[in-house]
């Protein structure tokens, strides 16, 4: 008996979804494989493009300059909500960086090949959908928090939060405006936060703000709001503050009509 026979070998077997066999609507079929390889190819071409000597992208990542360039190529305006559509698709964890996994599996899930023209078309359709489809808007806006915050932090600085909200709550996003009276909530919200909220914006506050914006646009009397319900404190306080402001609004309207 040789000593070798007692030996046992261990190897890892990767069972999770690999980028090459991503789950999705058309997982496993031949076109998917070719779609992913086309995306992989596209990713590499985006990555290696040298902008300058200093800006060499790391492996499996597209750095800030190339990311911006790519976003513009697919028809995104870096100053409005459309930017967050693409960041959401490619699962960007920060605004200036796209990772390979997210890029390939994200576009594949969306059913789009590694082709600028198709991607551009998809983005164009999505931009149009943004203001119409509130669930789609919420999905994109929720991801804005993930992409917008510093990777090592839990919360978003207030200034940044307001900046991203400004992008999201304006066309082509969904303005935070009351359906009946056309009251524009967003300036009030920012005014309130700047006066009364010296803190950061947590994920919960971000998400609840989106929900509150959606509900208050549909029902600007805020009758859906209930002190006993689970709205975060900041929204409870905003509602109280807002209701204090209302009589003044009413008075002003009377003045205007007089």
């Amino acid at each position: 008996m040789s000593h070798d026979q007692r030996m046992r070998f261990f190897m890892f077997e990767q069972r999770g979804p690999s980028p090459f066999y991503a789950s999705g609507a058309s997982a496993g079929s031949a076109p998917t494989v070719s779609r992913e390889s086309s995306l992989l190819k596209q990713f590499e071409s985006l990555r290696v493009t040298k902008v300058s000597k200093d800006a060499q992208d790391e492996k499996d990542k597209i750095g800030p300059d190339n990311t911006m360039k790519y976003l513009e190529t697919v028809g995104v305006n870096l100053e409005d909500a459309s930017m967050f559509i693409v960041l959401e698709i490619v699962k960007a964890e920060t605004i200036g960086e796209i990772k390979k996994d997210g890029f390939v599996s994200g576009w594949a899930d969306a059913g789009v090949d590694g082709n600028i023209a198709t991607q551009k078309k998809h983005v164009l359709n999505s931009v149009a959908k943004l203001s119409r489809d509130k669930d789609f808007f919420k999905k994109v806006a929720k991801h804005a928090f993930v992409a917008g915050k510093e990777p090592d932090q839990r919360a978003l600085a207030l200034d940044n939060a307001i900046l991203y909200w400004t992008m999201l709550f304006a066309p082509p996003g969904r303005p935070w405006v009351g359906k009946q009276t056309g009251i524009d909530f967003f300036p009030l919200w920012t005014q309130y936060l700047r006066e009364k909220w010296p803190r950061t914006v947590s994920r919960d506050m971000w998400n609840q703000t989106l929900l509150f914006a959606e509900k208050s646009s549909e029902d600007e009397s805020l009758s859906f709001w209930d002190e006993e319900a689970s709205w975060p404190n900041v929204i409870d306080d905003f509602v109280a503050w807002f209701k204090d402001q209302r009589p003044q609004d009413g008075a002003m309207e009377v003045d205007q009509s007089a």
Partner: protein, 766 residues
């Protein structure tokens, strides 16, 4: 009397002669019906019996009511019907006769007549029933088997005829006679109530079930007796009570009502049917209590104010008889007790700052004891009243004039009083009475909403008692801890128990250390005791000064440290110098032969021992040798200077740099043992402030851990349900605000212990 005195029996008829047979039978029935008292011989009895048989079996039934000869073949069937009808005719005649006679009587005489005739009639009915057994067995049975309604056995037939021919025509008159009699009795006259009972029995007997004659119903009795009786009763008491309350006090009225109610119950027992008991009670309750309930309730406050226990008991018993009668009383009682509690507190609250804990707790207890006694004696110890008492006590214990200054005052003062009781030479309470007083403490404790505040103060004071060995007795300490455990659970007293155990364990440890020292046969110059206190159980902080212990004790300290490390490797020991103390003897005083014993803190000891080498030390020297921070050093020196053990030069108010300290050889004191280890008032105040400060912070943590615990168990929960569950888990400790719970949930969301799910649900993130 129109009726013949005797009835002569005709000769026994020929069995073929139907007409003669009936003549014979009728004479027999009349004899039984009218003068049974004269007796009946066997021959007649048998003759009648035979005649019934003959009548029913006669084949030549002619000349009777049957039409046509074609009916003859039906034999006994038809003849039976003839006999039955003839009997009815006879009874109707008899009853019509009685009805005529009844008209001559009224009131009691009518009752006498009715009862007499009823007796006679029913007795006769029993005989006739027997004599007509043949008819019963054949014709009646067949008719009934065929389901013919209106055919009864002979006895029942008698009752039915009585009811229809006589009773329905006289019952009203009979009843009014009964009611008149009852009214007489209610007005205090003596009546012969046996008559009423017989009338009742008669009315009950007439209740026949239409469908099954073997059963009886109370319908007739209820309609003809109960209904008018109850009406009359209601009327009577409505009138009487209205008049009575107009002329008398409510208290008098209650007595009257009480005795009336008892009377009516007695009436049912004496001569009424049990069936009337419930409706009669209801009618009386309405007329005597419910219709005057407002008046009664208005009086309640006056009775409470004057502490009229018997009258309150009476009112309770009366109002307890009507539905929802007591609710307004309970409300008034609750308000009254709360006000009494608030007033008792106000009385002692004139100087809230200097308020003695005992005075405050006694004020609270006094009110509770008084009204608990009232609930027991006057309100039948009823749980609902106890609840009102509890509500009231909870209100005035937690929200009163003293609590205005700070809502923590009640638990704080209660804990302080407990400390006074459990501390040596504190209260003057005998040890044998101590447990009873501690039980009273628990009475107040149960009403305290902020039990966490009590716990904080209690644990600090327990720590002090244990560290300074000032407990009255270990038994009393254990007893109190187990009382708290019983009220609030294991978790509440866990730390208290561990503190207590630490001291017990330390005792054994010290014994071990002594033995160990002896084995080493080292000289042990120091009589030392060490206590090892578990960091997380004791509400103590490490000293806020550096300290270099005096060389005289350093050896012993080192030896103990080695001993302990050897026993429990890896445990980290931190000296709590601020709690250490000792005794030193003065060998230098000129005035005294026996040395003084000074009880000092270890800081003071370190200072004093310096004077073994030199009589004078500068402030700076003392500071550098002892390594004490100025605050601790100044405190220790201050007391030594104040007690004139040391003399400070130049003489000034406070110790400080530049001053020198001289040993006072002329030290004098009346006592041999002098305690110099005394804390200052400001220190105690400081501690109080600190205790109060930590409460809010601790509560947030308690809330968060409760929320996490609930969510961990349930994984998913609706927001509102979680808030409710949190309140119910926490309220044994303190009453949480919904807003605070909300904030804690938000904190946990931000920390990602929880996540929001759809539809206002929260999820637990492991």
């Amino acid at each position: 009397m129109s009726r013949p005195a005797t009835v002569m029996m005709p000769p026994a008829p020929n069995r073929e002669d139907i007409g003669a047979t009936w003549e014979y039978l009728q004479a027999g029935i009349s004899k039984i019906m009218i003068n049974l008292q004269d007796g009946m011989d066997m021959g007649t009895y048998m003759g009648i019996y035979t005649a019934v048989h003959n009548f029913c079996t006669s084949q030549k039934a002619v000349g009777l009511s049957q039409t046509g000869s074609g009916a003859a073949h039906r034999g006994a069937h038809l003849l039976g019907e003839d006999l039955y009808k003839k009997l009815i005719d006879y009874l109707n005649g008899h009853l019509a006769d009685l009805l005529e006679q009844s008209k001559a009587h009224a009131e009691e005489a009518l009752l006498t007549f009715y009862i007499r005739e009823w007796d006679r009639y029913t007795t006769a009915a029993k005989y006739i029933h027997h004599l007509f057994r043949y008819l019963n067995r054949h014709w009646v049975k067949r008719e009934m088997d065929e389901g013919k309604k209106g055919t009864h056995d002979v006895y029942t037939l008698h009752l039915v005829q009585w009811r229809t021919q006589l009773f329905e025509k006289v019952s009203e008159k009979v009843m009014s006679a009964v009611l008149m009699l009852v009214e007489k009795q209610r007005n205090g006259e003596t009546i012969e109530h046996g008559q009423i009972k017989q009338v009742v029995d008669s009315f009950v007997s007439l209740g026949l079930d239409e469908h099954d004659s073997s059963k009886s119903t109370l319908d007739v009795y209820r309609y003809h007796f109960e209904r008018p009786f109850l009406e009359a009763t209601s009327e009577f008491y409505a009138a009487e009570s209205t008049q009575f309350v107009a002329e008398n006090s409510v208290v008098e009225y209650m007595k009257k009502a009480e005795s009336r109610l008892n009377e009516e119950e007695e009436r049912v027992r004496m001569y009424l049917h049990q069936d009337i008991a419930t409706p009669l009670k209801k009618a009386c309750n309405k007329a005597l209590i419910a219709d005057h309930s407002t008046l009664l309730r208005d009086e309640f406050q006056i009775l409470l104010d004057n502490n009229r226990e018997d009258d309150m008991k009476r009112m309770y018993n009366l109002l307890n008889r009507i539905p929802d009668g007591l609710d307004p009383l309970r409300q008034k009682f609750e308000t009254h007790v709360r006000n009494a509690g608030l007033a008792a507190v106000s009385k002692v609250a004139s100087d809230a700052e200097k308020l003695e804990p005992k005075v405050y707790v006694d004020a609270l207890l006094g009110v509770h004891t008084q009204y608990q006694g009232l609930v027991k004696r006057a309100f039948n110890d009823e749980p609902e009243f106890t609840r009102s008492l509890d509500n009231a006590c909870r209100e005035f214990v937690n929200r009163n004039e003293i609590c205005k200054a700070g809502s923590n005052r009640s638990p704080e003062l209660l804990a302080k009083y407990t400390d006074v009781l459990l501390r040596k030479s504190g209260s003057g309470v005998e040890e044998s009475d101590l447990d009873a007083v501690l039980t009273q403490i628990m009475t107040v404790f149960k009403y305290i909403e902020d039990k966490d505040v009590f716990q904080k103060f209690y644990s600090r004071m327990l720590a002090r008692r244990l560290v300074h060995s000032t407990s009255t007795s270990d038994d009393a300490e254990t007893s109190m801890i187990s009382k708290l455990k019983e009220a609030c659970g294991f978790e509440y007293t866990n730390k208290l128990q561990r503190m207590f155990q630490d001291i017990q364990i330390s005792k054994d440890l010290n014994q071990g250390f002594k033995d160990h020292s002896k084995q080493l046969s080292e000289k042990q110059p120091l009589d030392s005791t060490y206590s090892i206190l578990g960091t997380s159980f004791w509400p103590l902080a490490p000293p806020n000064t550096t300290f270099n212990p005096p060389a005289e004790v350093q050896d012993d300290l080192n030896r103990f440290t080695r001993f302990y490390k050897n026993k429990h490797d890896g445990r980290k020991l931190t000296w709590l110098w601020q709690l250490c103390k000792g005794e030193v003897k003065t060998g230098y005083c000129k005035s005294q032969k026996t040395p003084y014993t000074l009880q000092v803190s270890v800081y003071q000891m370190a200072i004093l021992l310096l004077f073994n080498d030199k009589d004078v030390h500068s402030y700076e020297d003392i500071a550098s040798i002892t390594q004490l921070a100025p605050e601790a050093l100044d405190g220790a020196l201050g007391i030594l200077v104040k007690a004139k053990v040391l003399l400070q030069k130049p003489d000034s108010a406070k110790p400080g740099a530049g001053q020198t300290y001289h040993l006072n050889y002329d030290f004098k004191n009346k006592k041999i043992r002098i305690n110099l280890n005394i804390g200052t008032k400001s220190e105690a105040k400081q501690e109080e402030v600190e205790t109060n400060k930590t409460i809010e912070e601790d509560r947030k943590l308690v809330l968060q851990s409760a929320i996490v615990r609930i969510m961990k168990a349930r994984k998913k929960m609706k927001y509102n349900v979680l808030v409710g569950e949190t309140i119910s888990q926490i309220k044994g400790r303190f009453v949480p605000k919904v807003g605070d719970i909300k904030k804690c949930i938000e904190i946990l969301l931000d920390k990602e212990y929880l996540e929001r799910l759809d539809d206002d649900e929260l999820g637990y993130l492991a």
